[in-house]
Amino acid sequence: MFKLEPRVEFSPMISFLGPLFSIVLTMIFGGILFFSLGVDPVAAIKMIFWDPLMSETFAEYSRPQILIKAAPLILIALGLSLGFKANIWNIGAEGQYIMGAIFGATFALSLYPSESVFIFPVMIIAGIIGGGIWAMIPAMLKVKFKVNEILVSLMLVYVAEQILALASLGFLRNPDGAGFPGSRNLNDYPSASNLELINGTGIHLGVLISLLMVIFFYILLFRHSLGFKIKLIGHSPKAYAFSGDSPNKMVVICLLVSGGLAGVAGLFEVAGPAGQITIDFNVGYGFTAIIVAFLGRLNPIGIFLAGIIMALTYVGGELTQFMLNLPAAAIQVFQGMLLFFLLSFDLFVNYKLKFLKD
């Protein structure tokens, strides 16, 4: 028999091995899943994890795609990780992402077709505000009325999706679009376009900013008192109370930061890779970012790596759809599995197994 003993000292080794083991286990169980769907498991796994980077036929297209997809995941996951550390659960990033895009696009299109260098910077601010406002609703309701932020932030995703429908069918619909739903394409509007900075690499401003944010969050968490307080309130709310700060302040900070980052991620997407507001503009980055945050163990460097890996599974997943006719949902199952293994592995991060002699 064995029993569990809480780990007194943090083991970086175990903490690093967890995500690694989880990925390997996901590959194995994912392979079984693919096999049961009648697909060659080795080919599918190779196509998801290897081909987007190394294949001669696809890599030229898919390498930039990895950065394009990783940027929003990293931006959103960084914001969420703050709250998750402090036990503040914003799971409505998908809605904040949509609202950031709508705010930014609305601002830009209201000025169309006038050109100015100030338009794009103000759009970025509008994106932050849009996501921030959407996250402040659960924050305020939690602070004022102790309403559960998980449920409110999630409900607001569905509301945001309806506003998205309203925008693409109504107030943002392209007047020259022959009645089709969807806004004007911002890529045809130079002042509002978030173009590739280096041709063929996929690097747009959002990618650069997501990398800067990784560094910024690293400093914030490990070198700044706010990072310490966030960890403190997560581990021991009672100890935090002695610091004299109100826990409400943390609720507002964590939701505002995560909402703002989700909003700006939406803005970069709508002005860049997506180009326009459409009914199906959101593709689930806000939810996948939750997995990214955990896969990265809520650590900025970890989140960066996790964002790249998760983007790889997205791009690889698309390849398997085209090439092997795998359903799109298979990759979602794959991602869910990964999260299960990760969370289960936390047992060994938090506890030591002690074998008992009978």
Binding site: L4, I150, L151, M155, V159, L169, Q335, L339, F340, N350
Partner: protein, 310 residues
């Protein structure tokens, strides 16, 4: 637009049908939460119930077997959750989210070949004599047995929690698992059973959606119903009867909104479609304001992993 097109007895009857999957899923979650487990995977378990019930219904040609299959499907998925949070002691909030993501994916995968097929007809189970009462008969007594089951299950749950010895043990485990453990009660076993019960009922709710209410399989068809069920548990203050009340109010809002869309009222469809979600948020605010002192009803150990110390 013509408001006289809205038939009130039929409105009430369809309100009850709308509320039934919510009652079932919320009731299961209520038991799990009373035992101290917060399972945010209700949406995932519901959609697995919806797809497994639909597939079994179509393949066997029996709606009844489909309904049973939906409960089994939901329970199977919840087994995974129970293992991860009870044995591996994983964070319950994150594991519940994982369960939802995983469940939505599996359901989309399994359901894909079944899109657009009509499921077997469900027998309605009218209550003799009562069904013939004018108006009231249409509203309350011409439903299928799942509707009556949801009411009976609520009463049984209430009785179980309030008056039975096992119910008392379950509640004590939810309030303080360390004390309950030191008294010799089986914390992990009880919670395991509660999670499975919750999964079965959530699955049943999902099966009711795909086999009776819609009745069809479409990807992501639960559309947040699982999350609304979670909100209902909070709204009810962990009380089965207030849970029924909340579900019927919510069902009323949804049905009214659909009726207004149908008669072409001059409000944008997107705005009407927001109504159920906004109503949920407003309900949560009202309920929180009314019991702002202390979280009355919430179990003390809710969401905390249990690890044997001795």
């Amino acid at each position: 637009m013509d408001f006289s097109e809205i038939n009130i007895p039929i409105l009430i009857a369809s309100l009850i049908v709308t509320a039934t999957p919510l009652i079932l899923a919320a009731l299961g979650e209520l038991i799990a939460e009373k035992s101290g487990v917060l399972n945010l995977g209700v949406e995932g378990m519901m959609i697995i119930g919806a797809v497994s019930g639909f597939i079994i219904g179509v393949e066997t040609g029996s709606a009844l077997l489909g309904i049973i299959g939906s409960a089994v499907g939901g329970a199977l998925l919840s087994f995974l959750f129970a293992f991860i949070v009870l044995v591996m002691k994983a964070n319950q909030v994150a594991s519940g989210l994982a369960l939802t993501i995983f469940g939505l994916g599996i359901a989309a995968l399994l359901g894909h070949p079944y899109t657009g097929i009509a499921p077997p007809q469900f027998q309605s189970f009218s209550l003799p004599l009562l069904e013939d009462i004018p108006i009231i008969g249409v509203m309350f007594f011409q439903h299928d047995f799942v509707v009556y089951f949801s009411i009976l299950a609520s009463i049984a749950t209430w009785y179980f929690l309030k008056y039975s010895r096992r119910g008392l043990v379950l509640r004590s485990i939810g309030e303080n698992h360390d004390v309950a453990h030191s008294l010799g009660y089986k914390v992990i076993a009880t919670r395991f059973a509660s999670i499975l019960f919750g999964g079965a009922l959530a699955g049943l709710g999902g099966g009711y959606l795909s086999l009776v209410r819609v009745p069809q399989w479409t990807e992501g068809m639960t559309a947040g119903a699982g999350w609304i069920a979670l909100a209902l548990v909070v709204f009810s203050g962990w009380h089965p009867f207030r849970l029924i009340l909340g579900a019927y109010i919510f069902g009323g809002i949804t049905i009214l909104q659909l009726n207004l869309q149908a008669i072409g009222v001059n409000i944008n469809i997107a705005i009407l479609s927001m109504a159920p979600y906004l109503a949920t948020i407003i309900a949560l605010v009202i309920i929180s304001v009314s019991r702002i002192q202390g979280n009355k009803g919430a179990p003390g150990s809710l969401g905390v992993s249990f690890v044997k110390v001795t």
